[in-house]
Symmetry: C2
Subunit: 336 residues, 2 copies
């Protein structure tokens, strides 16, 4: 029935000490006798004392709060990134609060103002897509780390998944399973994520003296429909294909669909890989889909770590690319 509105003064009074002593006792300072400490803690307990962080923040000029401003409409990456950030921050006793700009500049300004006036200690900005985004500059007066989408300003701190490496890994894996006639169906060509992954694929093939089936990357859109369309066209013109690297799980689902309709065995005749390792899509795939996990939690964790480092004074500018992980499943198994 307590409304947790008791203050340090109340605690001090109940413990029969001054507020100064109570404060020290509660904060675990050394210069307090064991007896006093116990009395104060008991009093705090009795009164259901919840320290007022606002008052503390204003006194020490730090809030112990990180902001996470996201532009992600679906929460597909921002939630995992938030979790990772919370993990890293939780260890340092900080809290992370998320707000969503919906990719809208007005809302972004609104939230920045709200966060600034609440004196957060640092900010993580999560992009709506993988493309570099305009820097927020330094006017906020607090350190900023860009996650998922890097800042265009190289002197800012950015943490993003390594799409190039992801493209490489998936290709290397396919070669290792004995495939060599590999095609690449992916999303919109002006997305840097699509470009980077494609580059990774190309470089690995090049190194083996191989080239893509169809001699080019099939750019299109990030949809199942495109995956189906492209896959149909592909098997028509290049029946020799023995592996298809899809630029996303969504596209991969379309590819799988098309191949099943054509009676093409996966992975017997053709191996298929996705990208995102997104459970809702992965779970229902037939066969289960090999995919690349961008480790968003790790991205969030590193972003928070860098941010806390910067708050403590150590700025590490530039883009940090985090390793993605290939998750191997049925769609790329070797058949005997």
């Amino acid at each position: 029935m307590n409304t947790s509105r008791s203050s340090l003064k109340d605690v001090a009074a109940r413990a029969g000490v001054s507020t100064a002593t109570a404060s020290k006792a509660l904060n675990g300072r050394s210069d307090v006798s064991e007896a006093t400490r116990r009395k104060v803690h008991a009093a705090a307990q009795d009164l259901d004392f919840v320290p007022n962080e606002l008052a503390r923040s204003i006194a020490v000029r730090q809030t112990g709060t990180l902001g996470l401003l996201t532009h992600d409409l679906e929460g597909r990456f921002s939630l995992p990134i938030l979790m990772g950030a919370e993990d890293a921050a939780g260890a340092g006793q900080m809290s992370v609060f998320l707000c969503d700009s919906r990719g809208d500049a007005i809302r972004e300004q609104h939230h920045l103002k709200a966060l600034a006036s609440r004196r957060i200690d640092g900010l993580i900005v999560v992009g709506g897509d993988t493309d570099p985004r305009k820097s927020l500059g330094r006017n906020l007066g607090i350190p900023i780390v860009y996650a998922y989408a890097p800042s265009t300003d190289e002197s800012d701190m950015s943490v993003i998944p390594d799409n190039y490496q992801g493209g490489r890994d998936v290709t290397t894996h396919l070669l290792a399973t004995g495939r060599s006639k590999i095609a690449h169906i992916t999303g919109v060509d002006y997305y840097s994520a699509a470009q980077d992954r494609a580059q990774g694929v190309a470089d690995v093939l090049d190194a083996q003296g191989l080239s893509l089936v169809g001699s080019k990357v099939f750019f299109g859109e990030w949809s199942e429909q495109w995956g189906r369309t492209a896959a149909h066209a592909l098997v028509d013109k290049h029946p020799e294909v023995d592996a298809i690297i899809a630029g996303s799980d969504m596209i991969a689902r379309g590819v799988l669909d098309a191949l099943r309709e054509r009676g093409v065995d996966v992975p017997g005749k053709v191996a298929v890989t996705g990208y995102d390792n997104w459970q809702p899509l992965i779970a229902g795939a037939r066969p289960s889909l090999t995919s690349v996990d961008m480790n968003f939690e790790l991205v969030g964790r590193r972003a928070a770590e860098k941010l806390m480092g910067a708050i403590a004074g150590t700025v590490e500018p530039g883009i940090e690319r985090l390793r993605s992980t290939l998750v191997q499943r049925g769609s790329t198994e070797i058949k005997f």
Copy 2:
């Protein structure tokens, strides 16, 4: 280059007035001359003054901040709910911050403590699934609204989608398109969402003197795989079926898959409906999928409204069920 660390005192000094007057001017109080107001605003502008909300909060004993504690792992409902809440709150100049407990009791406690010590004015609790959840009680000392999943305590305030009505609407729609041999394939039987939707379906059929094909609801799990399995079994045993109501879009996708494999025309022979209206799944469905949208943004908006009402003193206890919307697409079209 400003670090936005100027205070009201600085502004007042620069404008040549007292802090009290500066405060009044900035807050648009009436008892300030137009000239003074302008001077103060100019000074604030010059200094890039960002008011310290912490100080304000501590003085007025209100933070203008709402917490949104979610248990949703994927962000599928919590993000839309957050957006709705932000819309409602934004109108009232409040901010909403989200934190994620990942369905973990320890984290929940941790966040509750963090939010309480930051003295948020109210809290929205978003459940991880639709089942009623244990009340947090009244010990937090601030009003709480439960969203998506209601509280078990009827004296708490809850805002949830009306699953029963959704089930009714979808059934009514199918009857209107001339279907009468309707089957229902849904998820886990102990989920109240599954139960409520099924009840809605049953009641509408009853009223028409009809009953479900197979004479029962096919409960299973929330997966594409289950949708496929169940649909296969269904057309085997009950080839007369002319409509399948799926309990989720995921299940619906499985159903569509199975029907296509069987060469059953959708919607020509059988109509299919989903539930969730979840874009990632809806977008790739063939044919496009009729589904029920639970209007999460609206849920968030109402939750925030109720919360703000409660903060202002008007508590409306009980469960408020918000209307869901049927979104009609190709999978239920009438064929001639």
